[in-house]
């Protein structure tokens, strides 16, 4: 069979074999002991041409009802935000899609300048001194931040808020499982941390505290007080932020974060059933040599012209091997590009207006929903665009499943992570939800 991606005809193959000095393709693999080779052929499904493949995928696609094609009120770390066409247009250009890590700066100035701008945009968004050129996702970025803090402080206690996204906590736990450190989950009350309680748990062995704001429940945390308490014992404050909220909320750098990390999905990246996403990591200048991953720096070429290169590579695994700050090699280049283009498109005032839309619509939805008999807000803490409702009418999971069949994607329900919140669920509202759509959800939930 001649495949679409292969450029050799039989004459080429014969000529090439002759140049090599062998008679058959089989001889290329003589070094492989026959006992190690595939016997016959692999047991894989039959090969499909493009049209057949598309028909096959069509059948599979029809077995999905994607939230983005219905009314999406789902939250919990992935959000249905609008993606401007410019983002897709730029991020689908061959020159970005089919290039790789910019090892040869003269052949990669496009990628390098775009990554340098991404780093700058993230630094400005977060109020931090600098950012790296991206990590895999929000959860692994949080884990990498913890590793940075352990290295920087030489301490062994890691505190994470019980209000941090449960999957992030689980990923941090996985990353730390073989290191000799203690991981402690801080209790919460009324949907957020209590600074007085946190204070009692702090001492000079604490390497870092990881707090998400808005947290997994959508509630705002008392981050300024937490930062103050933590810094008094010399620990590093790691904040997990929601990029869109920074149109209205103070930036992590403004209230004392030492490392700020985020899931960058909300910045122009499709929900995509959880990936590929974007791990954002920004930090204070003092931590620059502990940064994991790629970093782009400005310099000049031989003619004195401004240009960009990968820099401080002695932090990285390909140079330092086991002494590297992390094992990360490939980052999420194309996703970082999407986020950069997105931030360029929305700009400061577009981001503020967007955040206001999310805030207002979410509060309208919350007020309407919480006025339904049997539905109440679980917590009173201030929130941005996501909140927890308690449904006292029972059978919550079946009800959410039924809603989904009708095209209302709401949740997730919280019982799987918090047994005490078995009758609670999240509702997130983005700029894409109109008043009419919110009213339809309210109407539907009022009559269950």
């Amino acid at each position: 069979m001649q495949f679409e991606y292969h450029l050799h005809n039989d004459a080429d193959i014969q000529a090439m074999l002759a140049s090599i000095g062998i008679a058959s393709l089989k001889e290329l693999f003589e070094a492989i002991d026959p006992g190690l080779r595939v016997q016959g052929s692999l047991n894989l499904p039959p090969a499909l041409g493009e049209l057949e493949l598309e028909e096959h995928l069509r059948e599979l696609a029809e077995q999905n009802r994607a939230a983005g094609t219905g009314l999406c009120f789902l939250g919990g770390g992935a959000y249905d935000h609008f993606i401007p066409a410019v983002v897709d247009a730029i991020a689908s250009r061959s020159e970005f899609v089919t290039a790789y890590t910019p090892y040869q700066p003269e052949a990669s100035q496009g990628t390098l300048e775009a990554m340098f701008e991404y780093q700058t945009l993230i630094a400005r968004l977060t109020g931090m001194d600098l950012a790296n050129a991206s990590l895999y996702d929000g959860a692994s970025a949080a884990a990498e931040a913890v590793l940075m803090a352990l290295g920087a402080t030489g301490r062994k206690r890691v505190l994470v808020a019980g209000t941090l996204h449960p999957e992030y906590r689980r990923v941090i736990e996985t990353y730390l499982q073989n290191l000799e450190v203690s991981l402690e989950v801080l209790p919460w009350a009324q949907g957020a941390l209590d600074p007085a309680d946190v204070l009692t748990r702090l001492d000079s062995h604490v390497a870092c505290l990881v707090v998400q704001c808005p947290n997994f429940f959508g509630s705002l945390e008392p981050v300024d007080q937490l930062a103050k308490h933590l810094h008094e014992v010399g620990g590093l404050f790691i904040v997990v932020f929601y990029p869109i909220s920074l149109g209205l909320l103070k930036r992590p750098g403004d209230y004392g974060a030492d490392i700020a990390v985020a899931e960058g999905q909300s910045l122009g990246i499709p929900m995509g059933f959880g990936g590929p996403y974007l791990g954002i990591l920004a930090c204070r200048e003092a931590l620059i040599r502990r940064l994991p991953g790629r970093l782009v720096g400005q310099t000049v070429d031989r003619l004195g012209r401004r240009c960009w290169v990968l820099t401080l590579q002695t932090r990285e695994q390909h140079i330092r091997r086991e002494k590297a700050t992390s094992n990360i090699c490939t980052n999420q280049g194309l996703m970082a590009l999407r986020a950069a283009v997105y931030l360029a498109v929305v700009g400061p005032w577009g981001l503020r207006q967007l955040a206001e839309l999310c805030l207002q619509k979410a509060h309208y939805a919350c007020d309407q929903l919480a006025s339904i008999a049997g539905l109440t807000r679980a917590f009173e803490a201030p929130f941005f665009n996501e909140f927890v409702l308690r449904d006292r009418r029972g059978n919550l999971r079946q009800e959410l499943a039924q809603l989904e069949k009708e095209g209302f994607f709401v949740g997730p329900s919280l019982g799987r992570w918090y047994p005490e919140l078995e009758d609670c669920f999240l509702v997130a509202v983005t700029e894409k939800r109109s008043r009419g759509q919110i009213d339809r959800l309210v109407e539907r939930l009022a009559h269950r």
Binding site: V38, P45, T98, A107, Q109, L246, M271, V296, L354
Partner: protein
């Protein structure tokens, strides 16, 4: 030509988005958000109009070399053609706009793809079980090493050592360190292969894992791999295969048959998903039945034609990434494997190895290949003699190739070869392209060294001052 940055292009008042008016009754922001958390002004992002943004990025893109426009023989990175159909299909809204917390019932199509991909990768590996969760090869390594550690813990064994050959990728020792192991480096034999004697000297009951790349980073098949696996198993250790170089052997040989216990795939290398200027990739991990209980949660399973996510795995190492991994990348992988099937994969390996051996045969008379036997998908040449005799370094050749319209090979890796040029043509290049590349190299090596030192000359910049970038790091725009 120097491109202005977004920040220099910024002009107050310009904008590239107009949001709809707020259609719900508004409350005062001061009532909704506490004062101590409320920002006065939005973050200082640049202000730009849409045409400016598009022109900026299109101009930037023109400063890149890429697979779609250039031969890109970057060794160890498998810069093959990324099929356009896979991008289109993965971007369908039924896949791209699914939320990770939808019900299983509403994503049966995606789960079917993931389930089928798990099975296909297990078959290609010759192993039992697969996790699709790791976001990249390095994360796959970490995942597998944490699994190995959990496996030994479950058997009441304490093993602290990971053995890594000197030709290994840097990620191997870095991942082993993150997983809490100590690293022992094993010197390669004079043939550039695993030195069984050196290996046996380091094997004892403290050894948890032997990490091996096969074909190795010299482009050579480790012909003693079966014996090495036996020896490691003999002391109760496990063998990890770094699958970065699977493009040479997919459909030809199965690592499970070597005796390998666990491995990762780099789908952006072997299975054509776009390299994306440095990601996103995906690093699925395949393991034996004995290691299956330790896979990250969830695993996609099937019961009576219904697909579901199995979180009830008490021995699991937990989660290595949020949600289910880089699903959009995995959908592309699925499309690629369904396009090629078993015969197509075998042809990929045959043509990748054919191209590498052909190119090696064409250039080794001018650029010696120290480990000079039949190579697999790539080979490592050296400029050491040129450097000594004519002051032409590997980097000079790499830079001059850019002027001839070719991306450079990987240089200065692996570390065991001085002045290394690691060349991987991949199967999606024609004989004609390889001939042009070989001819360019011949011409370059007849040029005066001074010219090479001054190269590249045709790119948007000449060689950058990397020392300055390191000494005074400027990693965010601060204005001139």
């Amino acid at each position: 030509m120097v491109h202005p940055t977004l920040f220099e292009l910024s002009k107050p008042g310009c904008r590239a988005v107009r949001w709809p008016a707020c259609d719900v009754p508004q409350q005062a922001v001061e009532q909704l958000l506490p004062e101590n958390l409320r920002a006065e002004a939005p973050p200082p992002l640049p202000e730009l109009a849409e045409p400016d943004i598009v022109r900026h990025y299109v101009n930037l893109s023109a400063a890149n070399m890429c697979v779609d426009s250039h031969f890109y023989p970057l060794g160890s990175c498998t810069m093959k053609y990324s099929p356009k159909r896979n991008d289109r299909l993965a971007q369908w809204p039924e896949f791209a706009t699914a939320h990770p917390y939808q019900s299983e019932e509403s994503v049966q199509g995606i789960l079917a793809i993931l389930y089928s991909l798990q099975k296909m990768l297990a078959e290609i590996a010759g192993l039992e079980a697969v996790s699709l969760q790791p976001a990249a090869g390095a994360q796959g390594e970490l995942t597998a090493l944490l699994m190995a550690s959990a496996y030994f813990r479950s058997r009441g064994e304490k093993r602290r050592l990971v053995l890594v050959p000197d030709v290994a990728h840097g990620t191997n020792p870095a991942s082993a360190k993150m997983a809490g192991f100590e690293i022992v480096q094993i010197a390669s034999s004079p043939e550039g292969l695993i030195d069984l004697t050196a290996l046996s000297q380091r094997l004892d009951s403290a050894v948890a894992v032997f990490m091996v790349t096969n074909p190795n980073t010299l482009g050579l098949f480790e012909k003693e791999i079966g014996k090495a696996c036996e020896m490691v198993h003999g002391v109760g250790g496990l063998v990890y295969l770094d699958g970065a170089n699977m493009n040479a052997i997919c459909g030809i040989a199965q690592p499970g048959r070597f005796g390998v216990d666990m491995m990762h795939f780099n789908v952006h290398k072997t299975f054509s998903t776009p390299h994306g200027s440095g990601g996103p990739g995906a690093g699925p991990v395949a393991v034996t039945a004995a290691l299956e209980p330790f896979l990250p949660v969830p695993v996609v399973r099937e019961t009576d034609g219904r697909y579901w996510l199995d979180y009830d795995r008490p021995q699991s190492i937990g989660k290595i990434r949020s949600f289910f991994g880089n699903v959009g990348v995995l959908v592309r992988t699925y499309c690629y494997l369904r396009t090629l099937g078993s015969e197509g994969l075998r042809q990929v390996a045959e043509r990748a190895v054919l191209n590498a051996n052909y190119l090696m045969a064409r250039i080794r008379h001018i650029l010696p290949v120290p480990y000079n036997r039949r190579c697999m998908h790539e080979f490592v040449a050296t400029a050491a003699k040129l450097k000594a005799e004519r002051n032409i370094a590997a980097m000079d050749i790499a830079k001059r190739l850019l002027d001839y319209g070719f991306h450079a090979p990987t240089v200065y890796f692996p570390l065991v070869v001085r002045e290394a040029l690691m060349i991987e043509p991949t199967e999606t290049e024609s004989k004609e392209t390889l001939d042009r590349f070989a001819e360019a190299l011949e011409k370059i090596l007849q040029e005066p060294p001074e010219l090479l030192h001054q190269s590249p000359q045709s790119r948007p910049i000449t060689r950058p001052d990397e020392v300055r970038a390191n000494r005074e790091p400027v990693v965010v725009w601060k204005g001139e």
